[in-house]
């Protein structure tokens, strides 16, 4: 088994094919999209491949240590150019091919006009705990 992170971006990813802002979709298109996402997660739970998913708020800030006894330094809000993660889903699958297949399905979630978004998702393998055995 191998764990993968599927990352969704608010910005920073290449533009989706069906790229219409969400507030311009018809209400039933929004509902269909939300339903698709819920069904997708439920299906992966059923198949035993689902680990976790979370959504992130679009705002945030940079933070770093500024020396002993000093409060951390912050910098924000993020500039318009920053790559911005919207959320993720973690899956545990047999192999890379299955991870690709699932990421493809998630990217096909319906958007404006009921057409697939063709949204670009970032697929990242986890570093595994146990070293691979070589023979």
């Amino acid at each position: 088994m191998a764990k993968y992170l599927m990352l969704k971006h608010y910005r920073g990813a290449p533009e989706a094919v069906n790229n219409v802002p969400m507030d311009q979709w018809a209400p039933e298109e929004l509902s269909a999209h939300i339903q698709y996402m819920n069904d997708f997660a439920a299906r992966l739970e059923q198949s035993g491949e689902y680990i976790d998913s979370q959504a992130l708020a679009p705002e945030g800030e940079w933070v770093r240590f500024d020396g002993k006894g000093l409060p951390p330094v912050t910098d924000g809000p993020f500039p318009e150019t920053k790559d911005l993660i919207a959320g993720w889903m973690i899956i545990d699958v047999d192999n890379h091919a299955r991870a690709l297949e699932l990421a493809g399905e998630l990217s096909a979630a319906p958007g404006a006009g009921g057409e697939p978004l063709h949204e670009w998702l970032e697929l990242r393998p986890f570093l595994s705990d146990s070293p691979q055995r070589t023979e």
Partner: protein
């Protein structure tokens, strides 16, 4: 209910000389044993059974502790404890679990376990944290309470705050934290003679009454104004209203009673149009003067939008910082009522981006999309 006995059993152990932390562990173990054994061998005297088993667990733990540390313990010297006194320290236990020295997340966890009788696993699941993290949170909280005197309370207000947090912030798992918060608040109401306890109980009952109408089957939010009021639980409304009347009769107004009064006015109205918005605004005035909370002022602005005019509500909103949660959503709602659909759509989309949870974001995005579709 088995878990209703937990505070009494816990206080019985403490009266026999066990310290709070060890007694709490022993009661938790006795509960787990009860869950295992009672289905096959139901006890004649549930409280007596739990107390005896918990006391034995406590003695076992104290003995092995003593042996490990190779020193004498007073407990070791007197294994035959006197029977538990009849006095019931339930309220003191609640006060201890809500001790001001604890962070609110620790107080919530400790309350659910020590007086609620939930397992660490159930609490962890409800708040979506790993079980080990929750176990640490609870044992750290108990360590913090060492030396805190059993009879040194932080006041009933701290207990109410913790119970309200449990009511509002349950997430998932197989435990219904709304029902659990109501059960615990009822228990506190039996032991504390304070109108705000009744106020909180009334608020919980009246809010819980709307639960069947608050979401569609797929989990989408339905706001108060759009809810099917025939789906509201009329038994909970009746009980909540009665409890509130008892509280208000004491003439010591507090924030929970004021909020419950607002909930009762909504519960009493067959539709949004027939709601007594003028009285609701007056109750918000009371609430604002008690709490000075900007969130209460924001809700007052919305009520004023109904009682007087959307413009009046918007004027109130402009006096509040737009960084307030739900500020854009409230402005959007009032703009739509005013008839400025384009501005309302823009504000709904902005509110969706700022929403702090997914269900709210989806709802607000839907409003933006609905209005944009009308405008096209």
């Amino acid at each position: 209910m088995l878990r209703d006995l937990v505070p009494q059993v816990l206080s019985a152990l403490i009266h026999r000389g066990a310290d709070f932390a060890a007694a709490e562990d022993a009661v938790q173990e006795a509960l787990l044993e009860a869950i295992r054994r009672w289905p096959h061998e139901p006890p004649n005297d549930a409280k007596g059974w739990l107390t005896a088993v918990a006391w034995n667990k406590f003695l076992d733990a104290a003995r092995s502790d003593t042996a490990r540390r190779r020193r004498e313990d007073t407990v070791h010297a007197e294994p035959c404890a006197p029977p538990a006194p009849a006095s019931d320290d339930t309220l003191q236990l609640y006060l201890l679990c809500a001790h001001p020295a604890l962070s609110s997340s620790s107080a919530v966890a400790l309350t659910l376990r020590a007086v609620g009788g939930l397992t660490t696993g159930q609490i962890a699941q409800a708040y979506l944290v790993p079980e080990r993290t929750m176990a640490q949170r609870i044992s750290r909280a108990k360590r913090k309470l060492v030396g805190a005197r059993f009879t040194d309370p932080g006041g009933v207000a701290t207990v109410l705050k913790v119970l309200y947090l449990i009511f509002n912030e349950g997430y998932s798992g197989d435990v219904d934290l709304v029902a659990e918060a109501i059960r615990l608040t009822r228990q506190v109401a039996r032991h504390a003679n304070h109108p705000e306890v009744l106020g909180l109980l009334a608020l919980m009952l009246l809010t819980a009454a709307r639960r069947p109408a608050r979401a569609t089957p797929d989990g989408s939010l339905i706001p108060l104004v759009d809810q099917d009021r025939t789906a509201w639980d009329s038994e909970l409304i009746d009980e909540g209203t009665t409890v509130l009347q008892h509280a208000l009769a004491r003439e010591q107004l507090g924030e929970y009673q004021a909020q419950a009064a607002i909930a009762a006015l909504h519960a009493d109205a067959p539709t949004t149009q027939e709601t007594d918005w003028t009285q609701i605004v007056e109750w918000y005035d009371e609430l604002v003067s008690i709490t000075h909370s900007p969130v209460a002022r924001l809700n007052r602005a919305l009520a004023l939008g109904h009682a007087k005019s959307p413009e009046a509500g918007l004027a109130e909103l402009r006096a509040l910082p737009d960084s307030l949660p739900r500020h854009a959503a409230a402005a959007a709602y009032l703009q739509e009522r005013r008839g400025d659909l384009a501005e309302a759509a823009r504000l709904y989309a902005q509110a969706a981006i700022r929403a702090s949870n997914l269900a709210e974001r989806n709802y607000l995005m839907h409003q933006a999309s609905r209005l944009n579709t009308c405008l096209d």
